[in-house]
Symmetry: C2
Subunit: 339 residues, 2 copies
Amino acid sequence: MGTSDVSRIIVDGHGGDRAPHVVIDALAEILSLQRQVEFGICGQPEVLRSALQSKGLEGIVKIIPAEDVIDMCDAPALALRRKKQSSMHVAARAVRDGDWDAMVSAGNTGALMAISKLILKTLPGIDRPALASMIPATDGGTFFLDIGANVDCSSEHLVQFAVMGSCYLQAAEGVASPRIGLLNIGSEDVKGTDVIKVAATRLKESDLNFIGNVEGTDLFGDQVDVVVCDGFVGNVSLKTMEGVAALMLRTVKEELTSSWVAKMGAMLSGKALKRVKNALHPSEHNGAPLLGLNGIVVKSHGSADAHAYACAIDVAIREVEAGLIERTLDTMNQMSDAV
Amino acid sequence: MGTSDVSRIIVDGHGGDRAPHVVIDALAEILSLQRQVEFGICGQPEVLRSALQSKGLEGIVKIIPAEDVIDMCDAPALALRRKKQSSMHVAARAVRDGDWDAMVSAGNTGALMAISKLILKTLPGIDRPALASMIPATDGGTFFLDIGANVDCSSEHLVQFAVMGSCYLQAAEGVASPRIGLLNIGSEDVKGTDVIKVAATRLKESDLNFIGNVEGTDLFGDQVDVVVCDGFVGNVSLKTMEGVAALMLRTVKEELTSSWVAKMGAMLSGKALKRVKNALHPSEHNGAPLLGLNGIVVKSHGSADAHAYACAIDVAIREVEAGLIERTLDTMNQMSDAV
């Protein structure tokens, strides 16, 4: 946070399916809650000004001009090199320069990761940033990383992800001693790849609350708070979740419209079924933090509605308020002192 | 198949949670359908005899004596070396010797894989057997392998899995030209590990119907018939499915009992909801073939009920009837001729 107790958040005015309107509606939602927050929006001034005007937010949300826009289909490497005046670049530089405490974008994930890494750099002792997500579980949620930023990972990377995930849950969710598990194909020590076995040995020696190997089913239970894996496995697992959830909801819908009795039942259960849908396609869980960077960056889902986007902004505010960067640095220092 | 048109299936009388009773009930179910099949059951004769008697199957199902039993908690390597008189060993040797056409077991998966590989060996040109499963999808099912037998895989192994999966669907399900996808974290050619990129190049050059990279969500759609990955990723994905499905069903149950209106609705929709549950925890999909072996082996889920176990036996019968081994050998020969 800056010198005051106000969190200063810059949002990308151009990322996502329905920008900038969804983004500005999200700002309005948070501002209506009287939180200690100041907003900037980065992008093409004319577009943003008229959108802010239409919501009565002109003069309340500051416009940070950026001429260029990164598209969802731009290759990350090209977006990184060729679109240096994009809203994503400009917002990241503004965070680096300390003008803003955190940035939120619903834009191209690969480009956001590449640009954030180039401009903000990783924290000392951390080789690579990771992308993380809170997924629904019996006890509210499991924090899951890496979900796609790093295809090949060493044991050391997995250990760093564990530190990043643990610090995040302490800072942003107030979990005192997050239970950390390594995603594996069995709970026994002999299971899995050599990379995972070495990471497990390192984590056992650390001060982290490492509970050992966990399996895919454990992501949704209440035995573990942070689940760590490489970005290939994490991405496949996350997309498997999305696929199963979509298939189940489709099946429920088909079955509940298959006869008039089922239809009537579904009408009566309508509210309950809607809550099921919300619990499992949870806009409340929107906001995937990019961790390990020397700056706070949160990715919103591209198709987020205003409330979901506001949840992503809320993740950023909580990271700022809790001093996530300082906390991660402290833990990394303790880990290296212990070696 | 032997000299006649009758499929000769040997089942493991001791694997699974409720053996041998569930196993014998499954045999009774299949025998009641008047199929061209002859059954043997392998295990401790006294136990099996009294169980067969109580179901009126004594003299109809042949007992193949085996003194030892492999437990679910036995380490595969120890079970392999120390329990050579187990029902699993004896059944595998009986298949190797041509006394029976296929074996089915609900026992320890790791032990079954190790014993089958040692006794039956892999087919020429195939380095490692794989474990496969049919998973529910929009169009009925997607055939998914490897789901846990091989943690580290080379490009060549993935190509072999593709052949094995394609031949299985042709033989056992009658799919003329199965569409094969490589599980990856994006559909573009540049995505994923080097192992996957090389496998994709090899598959493009082959005669297989390779459609390219697919993602976790695609497992449940209708664009692909066979999805190939290494056993670590496959196992995590499969267990993620189980976890999401269990969480969703739990959430549905909680919500539908949360008020009297919801309860009444759930009562009316009861049959439809039961069909949802069956579609997603599908005993109809029980029966995971071990592929790439010089012999037919099918794994039943350890907690399978009689009908589910009968489905696993049905998988074995279809593999025998369709000549899966010969078909796989032919395809492997064509692949090596083409190189």
